[in-house]
Subunit: 161 residues, 4 copies
């Protein structure tokens, strides 16, 4: 299923490298030796988690159903215009952000305000409904960054001892 959800994101205009870049931007200030390649690997690890796969399947399905006009009102309208108080998109994405602990959730909150890179592109897309997708991308990048933070920390402690 990992390949299936990666294909689904590609189809919606999101590449692993785009997400890895956001994780890099989040984590590199705390770890100057970090490489983009390590961020790609960390994003790949996040995609292996079943709850991440299920969240992507569900969120992207809702974006596509809204886009095709297959949802009833008022939900169709709420998702299509990305109603700011809807909140289900952020709630779902925060369960991804949270898989490596609290740090991921605070990074997610930061990205939610400072939309950067692919997140901004998704948010401004004229063609597609990306109400769930922009938050999902932020959630994956936040989780990948939190995973790197934990590993960096553990490496430092081993180096000291």
């Amino acid at each position: 299923m990992k390949e299936l959800v990666i294909d689904l994101l590609n189809e919606r205009g999101v590449q692993i490298k785009d997400i890895a870049q956001i994780a890099y931007d989040l984590q590199s200030p705390y770890n100057p030796q970090l490489t983009l390649e390590e961020c790609v690997i960390s994003v790949e690890k996040v995609f292996e988690k079943r709850e991440v796969q299920y969240t992507i399947l569900t969120g992207v399905a809702l974006d596509k159903l809204a886009e095709e006009g297959s949802l009833d009102e008022p939900l169709s309208n709420i998702i299509t215009r990305d109603e700011p108080l809807y909140g289900i998109d952020e709630s779902l994405a925060m369960t991804i952000a949270n898989i490596y602990g609290t740090i991921g959730v605070t990074s997610f909150g930061f990205l939610d305000k400072q939309k950067t890179g692919i997140i901004e592109e998704l948010d401004n897309s004229a063609e597609n409904v990306n109400t769930f997708l922009d938050d999902i991308v932020a959630g994956i990048a936040s989780a990948a960054s939190a995973r790197l933070a934990h590993r960096h920390k553990e490496k430092q402690q081993v180096d000291i001892s």
Copy 2:
């Protein structure tokens, strides 16, 4: 919108009284003077919350889309057979359970294991897909019960002082 989501639940076989009964069963051991009528009022209050309304709209839409065969695979199959590790249904419902604090979340966990009343009927329905609905009902009952717990407590403290 409150009326709209109550109608939507009625259409799916759930009455406010059914949810109030579960809230009553949760809370009456701690508050013997509690009436079913107070539980109905508490459930009504929960329905006024916008995040509750949005969660109902979204969850019931996914149940209905799965039922009609309008979702892509593998999501269609996952929701239709209520895959136990899916977890998105419980995550969404927990945001309802949580609106009056932690007590609601622990009640939700209890109901998730001890499916009682309408929750059991929904879970066993042969006709309908209720993968989200059973958890939504548990979430509303848990929130309504948490709200009553807080009010009961505050009343006790006023009586003492």
Copy 3:
């Protein structure tokens, strides 16, 4: 108890006005008519919530115990030097941020990275241990801002109809 926790924050160098200013900075871009006075009222409302009061009591107690050297190792050292992976301070504060829904949690994540105003002062204090306090202040400001966002939205919808 509301007065007691406000006094406790004052004693630790935090005034309601300082928190209201952060809520104002968060919310005024979306609501240009917002006044600082409305933010003060919103912060006061957040202080009325029992879970907020309990979180303040607990978090400030841990800061003070660490400061006095009354905690056992390794907890004393972890809290005193604000160990970045500790996370309990953020988890507790997020329960405050969350009381008016998801928006509060994303604001909290933003403040956690972009420490502004009193949060930065607390974080840099040489005299006091503020490991919990800086996050608590961010949590209260985030909740107060989320409350204003919901009210602003509802007012707009009434104006349209």
Copy 4:
């Protein structure tokens, strides 16, 4: 630090085997071949997580400080008599329950109502303040059980393919 927190729990009357038994009771209905030994291993894995270690350190410290009379009022009284609306004990423990996803949180809610085994003993202790400890034990057992549920599921899927 893993050994340190296990020692701390032993000192407070909790053995790994007691927690493993609760995980076994939660999970064995879904997996009849499960052994208590596998549950012991799963509990050991939960203890390796840094956020679990930090939560134990913090919660047990608060129990002990309350017991020794080292907390200020009203917090001392709230923790000592296990005030039902306090909620910080459950919030902290739920972050443990949540480390392997939503299933852990629902099991935690169940245990919170149906206190079994060592949880009931802790809850009824006349000598010790266990306000945090009973929830921490429930959180660890719930996480260990959620971990077994995920592994059981994955094994089943491999067997099918």
